[in-house]
C-alpha cells in the first residue's frame, strides 16, 4: 500500500518518538525515501525539537537559582525554629 503525504503527517510526531508500530514505520520510511516534501517536514520538525532541548533557547531569569535558594534557606530556617519549639 502506498502512503499519502497527509497520512505521513498525521503520524509524524509519533514517528519522531519512535512509537509507531513496525509496519507503519516501514511504510513511512518507504514514503520518505522518495518524498522530498515529507522528508523536509520531518527534518524541520526534528530540528525544532533539537533547538527546543538546547538550554540556550529557554533561559532562566538571571539570578533565579540564587534567589530560589535564598528563599528556600529562609523557609528551612523557620521550619527549624518551629521544630525546635516542639
Amino acid at each position: 500500500m502506498k502512503l499519502e503525504c497527509k497520512h505521513v503527517w498525521e503520524h509524524i510526531s509519533e514517528y519522531i518518538d519512535n512509537s509507531v508500530d513496525a509496519k507503519l514505520r516501514e511504510e513511512i520510511e518507504r514514503h520518505l525515501e522518495h518524498c522530498e516534501i515529507c522528508s523536509a517536514i520531518l527534518d524541520s520538525t526534528r530540528n525544532i525539537l533539537i533547538l527546543t532541548a538546547d538550554d540556550r533557547t529557554f533561559e532562566l531569569p538571571v539570578g533565579y537559582s540564587k534567589r530560589l535558594h535564598e528563599r528556600l534557606a529562609k523557609e528551612l530556617e523557620s521550619s527549624k525554629e518551629n521544630s525546635d519549639d516542639k
Binding site: K6, W9, E10, I12, S13, E14, I16, D17, S19, E36, I37, S39, A40, I41, D43, S44, T45, N47, I48, L49, I50, L51, T52, A53, D54, D55, R56, T57, F58, L60, P61, Y64, S65, R67, L68, H69, R71, L72, A73, E75, L76, S79, K80
Partner: protein, 208 residues
C-alpha cells in the same frame, strides 16, 4: 539514572530524618524544570519565578507525602503545575475566559507547512539567536493546553506517561496535543527560516 534515583531516595530519607539543609541539594537538578513548568502556564517571567519558588517550598513542606511509586521529578512537576494553575485561575477570575473550557477541538488545520529547502539550511543556522527567539515566541503563542504538553515532553523530556500523570490527562491526549503543538511550531517557524535562510540552489536541489 538508576544511580541518581537511589541517591535521591537516600537524600529524601535523610531530609525527612532531620537533615533539612539537604533539600537544597535535592532540588538543584530540577530548578530549571520547575521554572519552565510554571512559565509554560503563566508566560510571565516574574510570576513564573515567584510561582517556582512557592512550588519548591511547597514541595519541601509536603515532602513526607511523597511516595516512591512516582518519580520525584514527576511529583515535583505536578506541584509546579498546580501552583501555576492556581495563579492562572486567580489572574483570570476577573476575565471572561476560563482555563477549564480550553480543550482541543477537531477544527483547525494541523497539517505541517510544506517546504522544500530545509535540508539546505545548514546546521549552523540552528545556532542563530534569532531562530531561538522565534521559537520562544512561537511556543509562547501556542494555546496553553498545547504549550504545557510540549514543555513537559520536549523541553523537560518527561515521557508520555509522566506527562499524562503530571497534567491529569490520558496518554492519548498527551500524544494528540504534542502532535498539534509540534505541527503548529513547524508551521510558525518555516516562513521564518525561508526568509532568513541563504539563497537556494533550486527547488529540489538539496545536497544529499
Amino acid at each position: 539514572m538508576r544511580m541518581a534515583e537511589t541517591n535521591e531516595a537516600g537524600l529524601i530519607a535523610r531530609i525527612l530524618g532531620g537533615e533539612k539543609e539537604l533539600f537544597h541539594e535535592l532540588i538543584r537538578p530540577y530548578e530549571r524544570m520547575v521554572y519552565l513548568t510554571v512559565f509554560s502556564i503563566l508566560k510571565n517571567e516574574a510570576d513564573a519565578e515567584d510561582g517556582a519558588q512557592v512550588a519548591v517550598i511547597s514541595a519541601y513542606r509536603h515532602l513526607s507525602s511523597f511516595r516512591g511509586d512516582a518519580k520525584f521529578s514527576t511529583w515535583l512537576t505536578t506541584i509546579a503545575i498546580n501552583e501555576g494553575r492556581k495563579r492562572l485561575r486567580k489572574a483570570k477570575s476577573a476575565a471572561e475566559d476560563s482555563i477549564d473550557v480550553e480543550v482541543e477541538g477537531h477544527e483547525g488545520d494541523y497539517s505541517p507547512a510544506p517546504l522544500t529547502d530545509w535540508r539546505e539550511v545548514p546546521l549552523e543556522a540552528l545556532e542563530r539567536k534569532e531562530l531561538r527567539e522565534a521559537l520562544r515566541g512561537a511556543v509562547a503563542e501556542l494555546p496553553g493546553i498545547y504549550r504545557q504538553v510540549f514543555t513537559l515532553r520536549d523541553l523537560e523530556e518527561l515521557n508520555v506517561e509522566e506527562t499524562a500523570r503530571a497534567l491529569g490527562i490520558t496518554a492519548n491526549v498527551v500524544k494528540v496535543r504534542l502532535h498539534r503543538a509540534r505541527i503548529l511550531l513547524q508551521k510558525r517557524l518555516v516562513p521564518f527560516l525561508k526568509t532568513t535562510a541563504p539563497a537556494r540552489r533550486g527547488f529540489f536541489g538539496r545536497a544529499l
